[in-house]
Structure formats: C-alpha cells, structure tokens
C-alpha cells in the first residue's frame, strides 16, 4: 500500500477522536474537551493541506486510492483527494467545527456525551463528502451527514424539533435517492464509480449518453443537490431545520451542510453532464435569481431573528448558484469563495443569535432593542458580521458577490438580465440586515429584562474571534484564496466548454 495521504489523515482524524472518546472519556467535560481538541487538531492538520497544495496541478492532488469492493464488472474504491475546488471547503469544515463545538459548551447540558459524539461523526461525514472521488464513497457520506443532524435537531432542538428533524431527513433523503439511481446507472455503464475515470472515459468518447439520458441524469443529480442548497422552490425544509436546531446545529447546517449541495453541482453536474449543464443553465440561473429575491424578501418579513438569518441563506446561496451557472471562471470562483464566505458570515450570525437566545430564551426581535448599551462588545462583533453578510466592501461578502456578478454579467451561458435582478438582491440584503440590526441593537434600551444581560463569555469570545479574523482576511486578501482555485476551475470551465463545442460541431 502506498503512503497515507494527508487528505486521509485530515479526513480520518475526527473518527480517531471519536473512537478515543468512546474508550477513554468518562465525564461530560472529557467529552467537551475531547471533541474540541479533536476538531482543533483536525483544523491544524488541515492547514498543512494549504501549505502543501501545489497550484500548478489542476487535477486532484494528495490522492489516495484503495480497492474497497471488487466484483465482476465494476470496482468501488476508497478514493480521496483534493483540488482547487474542494480545498477551501475542507478548510471551511475544519474551521467551523471547533467554533460550533466551543459555542455549545454552556448551551448543551443534557446528554452531553452523545452530543459531542454526533458532532465528530458530523465532521467526519462532511469531510468525507468533500474529499470523496468515488461516487459510492461520496453517496455514503452524503447520506451519513443526515444521521447526526437528525439527532442534533431532534434531541437538542427547540419545541418543534421532531417535526423539523424528520422533515429535514425525509426531504433530503427523498431527493438523494434519485441521485442514487443515477449513480448506479452511471456505474453500470462505465464499470467504475470513480469520477476521474468516468471523466476520462467521457473525454475520450468511450462513454457517451444520448441527449435525453444526459438530461435525466443531470436532473437526478441536480434535484438532490438543489434540495440541499436549497434552491427555491425546494427550500421549505430549511427554515424549520434552522429555527429548531440548536445553535451549533444551525451553524453547521448553514456553514457547511448547505455547501454540500452547491459543491455537488460544481463537482458532479458540471463536468459529468456538460451538455445538459449548458441547456439547463438559464433555468437554474433563473431559479437562483428567484431564490435571491425571494429569500431576501421573506427575510425582511420575519419577526424571529433566527428565521431571518435562515431565509437570508436562501438568498445568499442563490448568488452561489448564479455564479456556478455562469459557467465561466469568474462566476465559478466567485461561487466557491462565496460558499466559504457564507459559511463564515452566516455561521457567525447564527452564533450571534444563539448568544442572545441563551440569555433571554427568545429570538423575537421585538423582545430586544438597544442591546448595544447592555452588551457593547457583543454588539460590535455582531455589527461586523452583519456588515460582512450584507456584502460591505472590504469585508469577505463583498468579494464573493462582486466576483459572481462580474462572472454572470460576462457569461455566454446566461443572459445579463439575471445579473441585473441579482444586483437587486444585494440591496435587499442591506435592507433586511440593517433592519434587524436596527431593531435589536439600536434604539433605547427600554426592556427591563435586557438591562442586565451579561456580555460575551470567554468561550463565546473565542468562538467569534476567528470569524472576525476571517471576515477581514478574506475581505482584503481574496486573491490568495482565488489563487488556489485558478488551475482547477480553469480546467473545469475548459472541460465544460470543450465538450460543448465538440457537441456543437
């Protein structure tokens, strides 16, 4: 067997931590710290991925392969690796998890061991989704992420938690089962489930689909991903899940889980079905734009802070989808960066909401007002994150959205009208975000019960500082992030366009 790749190490670390905790941890604090240390070590090691990342390679790197199942006619591999598309998402996962664990230290007091076990399984499964290069492996982790989230919402969630947990599980599972069929069909045709091999076969013409088949396959994958993103009109599970989940659950959902959907589009739909991609690009872009405006509009109408943030996710991920279906380097790179940005900003927003909820046990905006006077440090942090989420220049959100709009405006695949409407979304984002900030933090501190709220505690500060740092780092140093994506995205775009032109000839 070849050397163990760094990707495998990062991917397996949460599982190692899980097993160690299972054996050695004996009290609640051991589980808390065990999970935190595991996730921190995973983050530390994952930084090495960036260090060792070779920007001159467009394809996969730090690859590891081993046969998992061999049967007559097909093989299924343990096949992991990263490229410029997945590297930042792996980093996002390892970055968000310690924060999510830290923010739970006080909030979760019941069934603590179970909670942190699920957190580590969650991290393991999400990393699996981003590093898997075999369709079987990918599907396994894609589905596995549902299980810990089901428990996180169902056990530690709010009043409607069971409804939300079941809806979340069934909605997502129903969508992915059609993808399972598409995967099986592809595997039957190709005799392999590894994506790079299938891509090579597509390029060499060894494997080809009729137009109708390709469109069906595209849709089977797309529905699974669109539910996860979620794209309008498949978003109805999201407000329920977000609002009912515990703070850390929402952070993970918004921070990483939704990105699995958008990542799926970039990783599978675009390269595997380039012709269908081009056909469907305007439709998906239209849905994306509807999502942008719808999400923003509905956000503005919310009374509950958490719901507001939840609907804003639909709007933000609309931008990501628009960027992806621009089918040019700027759009896709902006989309990938915006995935990371959204993970950081919205993860941060959910933590902000969580902090208040823990103190007052309500998320209604009208219960607050003038919080700045009671909790100045907290409010300052909240302001930066709010501004980042609405895309203030100099902060991370701006770079992502701007690049996406740049990409979609110059796209051959979709009309510039989409860009025009999407730009409205940027304005709306400012409206609902500032409306929330104004209602909650500004004005007079007139509610008696808000006057003595304690400011941030140490674990909250430690969970929020990294978010602030990243908001500024990505805001001013975005070129570094784009730099790592360049090669892979360029290759992807070339592949999509290449097959497109080959088909048109």
């Amino acid at each position: 067997m070849e050397d163990i790749s760094l990707v495998t190490v990062v991917f397996m670390l949460p599982l190692v931590g899980f097993v160690l905790m299972l054996i050695f941890a004996r009290n609640d604090d051991a589980y808390r710290w065990g999970a935190l240390v595991t996730s921190l070590v995973t983050f530390g090691v994952s930084l090495l991925l960036v260090r060792h990342f070779d920007t001159s390679i467009a394809g996969l790197q730090m690859v590891q392969k081993a046969d998992w199942i061999t049967a007559d006619g097909f093989t299924i591999r343990y096949y992991v690796g990263i490229d410029g598309i997945s590297v930042w998402l792996v980093l996002l996962t390892t970055f968000i998890m310690p924060l999510a664990i830290l923010i739970s230290f006080r909030a979760i007091q019941e069934r603590v061991p179970l909670y942190y076990m699920f957190m580590l399984i969650m991290e393991w499964a999400m990393l699996g989704v981003f590093v898997a290069q075999d369709l079987f492996l990918f599907y396994v982790f894609w589905e596995i992420t549902l299980v810990p989230m089901y428990f996180l919402i169902g056990i530690w969630g709010a009043e409607q938690r069971i409804y939300a947990a079941v809806k979340f599980f069934l909605y997502t599972m129903a969508g992915s089962l059609l993808m399972l069929l598409a995967i099986l069909w592809l595997g039957n045709q190709a005799g392999t489930f590894s994506v790079p091999d299938i891509l090579a076969m597509l390029k060499s013409g060894e494997l080809s689909f009729s137009t109708g088949t390709e469109r069906l396959l595209f849709l089977a994958f797309a529905i699974a991903f669109a539910i996860k993103v979620p794209m309008w009109p498949l978003h109805s599970w999201l407000p329920d899940a977000h609002v009912q989940a515990p703070t850390a659950g929402s952070v993970i959902l918004a921070g990483v889980l939704l990105k699995m959907g958008t990542y799926g589009f970039v990783r599978f739909n675009l390269p595997l079905f380039p012709e269908a991609t081009k056909t469907f690009a305007p439709y998906f872009a239209a849905l994306a734009v509807i999502g942008i405006i719808y999400g923003a509009w509905v956000s503005y109408g919310q009374k509950d802070m958490k719901k507001l943030v939840a609907y804003s996710s639909i709007s933000h991920l609309g931008f990501v989808m628009l960027g992806i279906f621009s089918l040019n380097p700027a759009g896709i790179q902006g989309g990938i960066l915006q995935m990371v940005n959204h993970g950081i900003s919205t993860g941060g927003l959910f933590m902000i909401v969580g902090v208040l909820y823990e103190r007052r046990h309500t998320k209604l905006m009208k219960a607050f007002g003038g919080i700045w006077k009671a909790m100045p440090l907290y409010s300052g942090v909240a302001l930066v994150i709010v501004l980042s989420s609405m895309g203030l220049p100099g902060l991370n959100g701006f770079v992502g959205e701007f690049t996406i709009l740049l990409g979609s405006a110059g796209s051959h695949a979709i009309s510039w009208w989409f860009t025009a409407f999407a730009a409205v979304g940027v304005i709306l984002a400012a409206v609902y975000m500032l409306y929330m900030f104004n209602t909650v933090f500004m004005g007079a501190l007139d509610k008696e019960e808000n006057k003595n709220l304690p400011d941030l505690r140490w674990h909250e500060i430690y969970a929020l500082i990294p978010v602030l740092v990243m908001v500024f780092v990505i805001g001013v140093q975005a070129s570094y992030f784009f730099n790592l994506m360049d090669g892979s995205v360029a290759q992807l775009v070339e592949h999509v366009n290449g097959v497109m032109s080959a088909a048109m000839r």
């Binding site: 049967a71 396994v140 596995i144 089901y150 089962l177």
Partner: protein, 504 residues
C-alpha cells in the same frame, strides 16, 4: 429396473453442512428427553453447537478452504452443492444461531422453556438450507414443508394465549393452501416438461419453445403457481395477508427467527426455480424471461403496500411485519432482474447479499422487541420504547442501527443490500420498478425514523429486560450490521462465486 443406489453414489460429502445439521437435530430430539426440566440451557447450548459446527463447515466450503465435492450434485441431482447453496446455508445458520440466543431468556421468563423449541428451530433451519440446495422441484417441496411445519408449531408455542393460537392456525391453514399451489404448479411443470429436475426443465424449455408447442402455456401456468406458493413464504403481495397477524400473535423470539428464515428459504427456492430451471423461458417476441414482468409487478405492489401500510402501524411487531413485506418487494426487484439474460448472475448475487444483510438487521430488530416485551406478551407498542435511549443507551443505539439499516442508510448492511439490488434492477433495464423501490424507501424512512424518535426524542420510562444471551444476540446482530456496512466487500465476496449452473 430399479437398482438400490450405493452410498457412495449419493455423494454425501457434498451435503455435509445439511447432513450434520440433520443428524444433530435428530440426536438432539432424543437427547433432550434426558435433559431435566430446569436445565434446558444445555439443550440450547447443544443446539448452538450443532448450528456452529454446521456453520463452520459451510463457511469453509463457501470460502473454498475445503472442497466437499462442491459443484457436483448429490442424491442424483436432487441436491446441488455450489456457492449458492453454501451462501444460503451460511445465512440460515447465522439466523438460527441468533434465533437461539434471542429465544433462551425469553422462553425462560415467559414459562415456555421446552426443549422442543430448539429442535424445531433446527429442523426448520435445515428446511431453509435445503431450499437453497434444491436441484429438483421435489426437493423444493419437501424442504418447504420441512421449513414450514416446525414454524407452524413454533408460532403456537405460547398455546394458552389466544393470539398465539390464532397465529399458528392462520399460518398453518394459509400455509397449507400455499403448499397446494406449489404442488399444483410442480405438477403442471412436470406435465409440460416431463421432469422435475431443474436441469431437465431447463433443457426441455428450449425444446418446448423451439417446437412452439401450446404446452408452453401449461409451463407458464405452472411457473405462476410455483411463484404464488413461494410468494406466500416470502410474504409478497397479494400473498401477504397472513404476515401481520402471524407476526403479532406468535412469540416474538419465534418471529425474530421466522421472519428471516422463511424469507431466506422462499427466496432461495425462487432463485433456484426461476434462474436455474426457467431462465430461458422466453416467449417469442420478448427479450426477457416470461416470468419477469409478473415478478416485477409483484415487487412493485409489495413495496408500495408494505411501506404505505407500515406508516400507520403503532405496534412494533406489526410495523416490522409490514416492513418485512416491503423488504420482500426490494428483493423481488433482483429476482425479476434475473430474467434478463446476462444480468442473472449479478442479480442472484444481489439476492444473497440482501438476505445476509437483512438477516442480521431483522433478527436484531425483533430481538430488541423481545427485550422490551413483558412476560405476558404485551408491551410491544411503539409507545413502549419511549425514552429507551436514556434508560438503556446501548439497547437503543442498537435499535437505531437496525432501523437505519432497514431504511438503507449508508454504513449499515441494509444500504449495501439495497445498493446491489437496485444496481441489478437498473442493469436489467427495470427502471420503473427500481424507481418505485427508491421512492418507497423514502417512505419507509419515515416509520423507521419514527421508532428512533420515540426512543431518543421522547420522554418515557423505557423499561427493558436483557439477560446475557439476548444481549449477546443483539450485540452480534448490531456489530454484524455495522461491519457489513463498513466493509461491504465481505458481502460481495461472499456472493462472488455464485453462477448459474445450467444457463447464463
């Protein structure tokens, strides 16, 4: 002129796993008379030992470690000894061992501890094994009766209880009816082909189709009757009516064993009859075997009915009864896929893989109900597992694993089974029925998740009684479910050697 065959002609060595079990069961039947009433643990241990020895031999033969003369027939073709036989034997024996482990405490605390239980269980296991080994319709019939009759008795084992009596009687009457169908089908097939041996039927089918004789419709009718008879055993719609009542009334430890063993036996025989005997029974103008469309239609109905009705169940035993109907539907997809030439081997392997996965999962799930159930047979509603996660974390975790496996969530055995079955379905171009399979799995997730949410998300007393043999049984089932999920190649390797003997 009939000559008495010599013992060496019978090729007894090839049948070693089954023969050992038959001998062991017979000896145990007598030995048990000398085991005093309070010490039936000895009988249980001996039953486990017999099963264990047989399992080891079957595993060695399956892994090609020892060659028992596999590949050849025994008893003049009545018994086929190939990888399929070995694989089915392994599944049945594992199920039976788990069945013994699950039963012991339960029988003890409900006052049903009698040695016959274990002997009957051994005999029915033998019947299920022989169904997988059948090389002749006559063997299928004898094995079916050997499988069923002990199960009828076991269903009525709690004979003072009305539910158990009803269960046994219902099972017996409907079972006898189904056997009638099977025998009539065998007679018709014999009438059409002049033989009951699969090899002969296979050869005769070709001649029959080549001659384009009207007798092919007799054969079709015969195949349909056999399908009905075996469909009853595996609880396929529309022959499923008995399942919920029998499962609910019979002692839970019996159901744990029976729900898997009867299914394994039924499907093993179906695979033998359809893929070994009638694979080339292709009517003119069609590309797949004549029985394929019927089988996939039954599969579709079975999946829809089983899953939809299960959603409304509040009794765990009934819920799992409908779930077991649904699972018969999934397996039938692979059975239907065997009708397409070129996919037959893959599909037969998928059947075996699914059954192995199902064995661990389903016995385990019923074993958890055994633990939750009270001595009087009550306390098996879904309400009774409320709050189980707090009181019995390991038990609840095991049940969660079983439910996720039944729902087909990855990293459990159930997912691997579904993966192979659906793959075979698509390979045979049975797209509609496979899509139905996938959609109904989504429905099924609801009621399996419901069990989990009652255990984990709701508050309740969550009482259970677990003594060590039961705990061992549940642990083995749970660990087995996870191991097969993490290392699916164990399953695919187990089924690798399966190939059609005559056709293909």
């Amino acid at each position: 002129m009939f000559t008495v065959p010599s013992l060496s002609d019978l090729n007894l060595a090839a049948t070693l796993p089954a023969t050992l079990l038959a001998l062991g069961a017979s000896v145990l039947l007598v030995l048990d008379l000398f085991v005093p009433k309070g010490r039936k643990a000895l009988t249980a241990w001996l039953a486990l030992a017999v099963l264990g020895v047989s399992l080891i031999v079957a595993l060695l033969s399956l892994g090609d470690v020892v060659d028992l003369g596999t590949g050849e027939g025994a008893f003049f073709g009545l018994y086929i000894a190939d990888s399929f036989t070995d694989a089915v034997s392994v599944i049945v024996l594992v199920t039976a061992m788990l069945g013994v482990a699950v039963a012991y405490n339960y029988l003890e605390r409900t006052g049903m501890q009698r040695g016959e239980y274990y002997v009957l269980l051994l005999f029915s296991a033998l019947g299920a094994m022989l169904m997988g080994a059948a090389g002749d319709l006559v063997t299928v019939f004898v094995a079916l009766e050997l499988l069923s009759i002990p199960l009828y008795i076991l269903s009525g084992f709690r004979w003072r209880d009305e539910g158990s009596e009803e269960s046994a009687l219902k099972y017996f009457i409907l079972g006898a009816f189904a056997s009638g169908f099977l025998v009539y089908g065998i007679a018709l097939i014999y009438g059409a082909t002049g033989t009951t041996a699969f090899g002969g039927i296979w050869a005769a089918t070709r001649d029959l189709l080549a001659a384009d004789a009207a007798t092919k419709y007799v054969l079709l009718l015969g195949a349909g009757m056999v399908l009905a008879g075996l469909g009853f055993k595996v609880a396929a719609v529309p022959f499923h009516m008995w399942t919920p009542d029998v499962y609910q009334g019979a002692p839970t430890s019996v159901v744990a064993y029976m729900s898997v063993a009867a299914k394994v036996g039924g499907f093993a025989a179906l695979v033998r009859v359809l893929a070994w005997g009638l694979p080339d029974f292709v009517l003119s103008g069609q590309s797949a075997a004549a029985w394929q469309s019927t089988v996939w239609l039954i599969a579709a109905l079975t999946m829809i009915l089983g899953n939809v009705v299960a959603v409304a169940q509040n009794n765990l035993k009934r819920l799992l009864a409908y779930s077991s109907i649904a699972h018969a539907g999934y397996i039938l997809i692979a059975v239907a896929a065997m009708g397409t030439a070129g996919v037959a081997n893959e599909a037969a392997r998928a059947v075996v893989i699914y059954l192995m996965a199902y064995a661990f999962t389903n016995v385990g799930a019923f074993a958890v109900i055994v633990a939750v159930e009270r001595d009087d047979g009550g306390h098996t509603d879904i309400d009774n597992v409320r709050g189980l996660a707090k009181e019995q974390p390991v038990l609840a975790a095991s049940m969660a694993v079983f439910m996720l496996s039944l729902a087909g969530v990855p990293l459990t055995a159930g997912f691997v089974g579904k993966w192979f079955v659906f793959k075979a379905g698509l390979a045979a171009d049975l797209v509609p029925v496979t899509v139905i399979g996938v959609l109904t799995s989504a429905i099924s997730a609801y009621y399996y998740l419901r069990v989990i949410w009652f255990m984990y998300f709701e508050e309740g007393e969550g009482k259970a009684q677990i003594a060590w043999p039961l705990a061992w049984g549940i642990s083995v089932a749970a660990i087995g479910t996870l191991i097969l999920g993490f290392f699916p190649y164990l399953l695919s390797d187990m089924a690798r050697g399966i190939a059609l003997a005559f056709g293909g």
